[in-house]
Symmetry: C2
Subunit: 394 residues, 2 copies
């Protein structure tokens, strides 16, 4: 319960707020910033001057506006020179990108991740990607830090990966391993991929402007990034959002976590492929294969999709009763399921969720696709800059 801020804290807060605004919304006129941030014109002018001097934004007159009078200068984030590295460890894929302020992907690399790959083997290709991308960084560019998003439970305090059951890792200090492999990368923040994806879909994607959002991310497992009242919630240690381990079918199948009937035992990749008679395959391509077969009229595939759709609707209904959200976003393989089973999911959701809890709900697919994980990982790195733009710059 801290009391009010000092003048210096107010200035830092205002610098961060302005930079965050253009980071999220892109090029914005001074006039619009004045309105949106509730500050007067001279304050906005002073703040943009400071941010320009720190090399974080540029200001330019807009192209002919067709209106009389001096046009308001347009403030842009320095996307090409201020950058972060973003890394993703997904169940089947390793991704890396160099991301400019404002969320622009400047360079990218990716490789398949064989299931069963150990930490040390995942870290090597990621380090190689960083090395390659470093070579193309223009002179004078400013590095902010690196973010790593992983499909697992990450301890907020130090980035330790406590459990990534779908990846098969337990108590792995992935961040440390990465630093050991590539040397100092500056500040490296580790987060959960559903959490950070929720954040960017909330900032710039399918849930822009909505303050109560659940982003579901599915592959072998199912996790959620949850935004409540505009803030990401992750609980005491950072492990919240493990909706895939909500028991929905107590008499159902054993789960990899040791419990039984967890949501992911009904809607994850394995039950879908098993019911479709394709237990010999795995991964997103295999899931897409089932979805396409269902669309072509394959009865067995349709039954499998229907099964997952029913349970997906039930679990989403539970979450709607708990959170009364405005938007549910179906990411990862759940996106593919949603696209063929939307009516069924909605119908089951309607049975389970109370009318008041679901009355303003929108079901959506991600707008940023698989980039959400990379952009979200970059956000982890940008966050420090946005908290204190000029302090970090100094």
């Amino acid at each position: 319960m801290r009391a009010g801020p000092s003048q210096e804290e107010v200035r830092r807060h205002n610098l961060g707020t302005l930079l965050r605004y253009v980071h999220i919304h892109g090029a914005t006129s001074r006039a619009e910033l004045t309105t949106k941030l509730g500050l007067n014109r001279s304050t906005i002018g002073a703040l943009t001057a400071d941010l320009t001097a720190a090399g974080l934004v540029t200001e330019k007159a807009p192209r002919g506006t067709g209106r009389a009078g001096r046009p308001s200068l347009v403030v842009r984030p320095e996307s090409s020179t201020v950058y972060a590295y973003a890394l993703n460890i997904e169940v089947d894929r390793l991704r890396a990108a160099r991301v400019g302020l404002g969320g622009r992907i400047l360079d990218r690399r990716e490789a398949p991740r064989p299931r069963g790959m150990q930490v040390v083997d995942a870290v090597q290709p990621l380090a190689a990607f960083l090395d390659e991308m470093r070579r193309d960084v223009p002179a004078g560019a400013r590095y902010v830090g690196a973010g790593l998003a992983i499909a697992g439970m990450v301890r907020r305090a130090d980035g330790m990966v406590r459990l990534a059951p779908t990846i098969g890792w337990v108590e792995e200090p992935v961040g440390e391993a990465l630093v050991e492999e590539i040397g100092d990368v500056g500040p490296l923040i580790v987060g959960n991929i559903a959490d950070v994806s929720a954040l960017v879909e909330h900032n710039r994607g399918a849930a822009a402007g909505r303050d109560n959002v659940i982003y579901l991310y599915g592959d072998v497992g199912v996790g959620a990034g949850i935004i409540v009242g505009g803030r990401r919630i992750t609980g005491h240690g950072g492990y919240g959002g493990e909706v895939g381990h909500m028991v929905v079918n107590p008499y159902g199948r054993p789960c990899s976590c040791g419990s039984r009937g967890c949501w992911e035992t009904e809607i994850g990749e394995y039950p879908l492929l098993r019911m479709a008679g394709r237990e010999d395959r795995s991964g997103r391509e295999a899931v897409l294969g089932v979805v396409e077969a269902a669309m072509r009229g394959d009865w067995v595939a349709q039954q499998a999709v229907r099964h997952v759709g029913q349970w997906l609707g039930l679990g989403v209904g539970n979450l709607v009763n708990i959170f009364n959200p405005e938007a549910i976003i179906f990411g990862g393989t759940l996106r593919d399921i949603y696209l063929v089973a939307a009516a069924q999911i909605r119908s089951r959701l309607t049975e389970v969720a109370l009318p008041a809890c679901r009355e303003n709900i929108r079901l959506r697919t991600p707008e940023l696709g698989t980039d959400a994980g990379l952009l979200g990982a970059a956000e982890l790195a940008f966050e420090r800059l946005l908290e204190d733009p000029v302090g970090s710059a100094g």
Copy 2:
């Protein structure tokens, strides 16, 4: 995304922060306020002078401290003169109280509520309670407003009770009905009883100092008040926390909401009494009867308690995976169940919840008992004062 505050906003914020601190923590020395609020001594002095002038706090030298030097003045909330009315509509009980700043119950009334009682009939005794209590208000006391907490879903925007299934009400403007009955009561805020109980247990009770808390409130139905990162979360329209309608047993019994296998169909009052062979009874007394019979060794009652304990542990496990909380508080009839089935609840919770999500969890009973609902309703009224103490006073 508002930018930094003005000087006047900072002052208002500081006044509110100081008043909130003594409202929650009771009498506090200036020295401690200086430390806790991170403000210097002269600012604290100016703020307490303003609050004293507004009649909201008093300052006194402490009794002999046994230490040398001038002792720091102690700041107390004006509990005896600044007050709110608090009203509760529970499934079996109507309660009313006059509550002083600082959460002191100055006067109280209660009456049983027959099940099936309509809004108009519930409003009359509550209005009579207010009338009685008004007569004893000392001259010069300052009325802040009234809060009404109800076991139902309340629309945040206007306090409309959308659905109170256990009470049997749908779309009832209870606040309006109350005002019609007793005339103007000033600002009247309506909220959900689990939400406001969570708030006071978080402020002053079993979860003081913990920022991630789930307060479960059970009677016929089950609701939750959820605190995440120190803030109460209620979702887009105010209807979140309906954990009693999380489906946990899809092949289970029909629920009053129209769905099937909702958590409350396994842990609410009805399944407990049914399994104990006491379907002819109802209410907290009947639940206590089963619990006591189980403690005396009655086998049928033990089976009923065991059943509820199992399902209670499962659902709590689900919530722990979703929220990674620090504390779960068992309120209402769930308190009675918890006291005899704690080991079993914990064991089922341990099976369902992931180790990282549950590693810092504490299971607790409420410290404020049935007063939590009254103190919470009063908080709804005090909130306006705490937002802007001197503005409202002026």
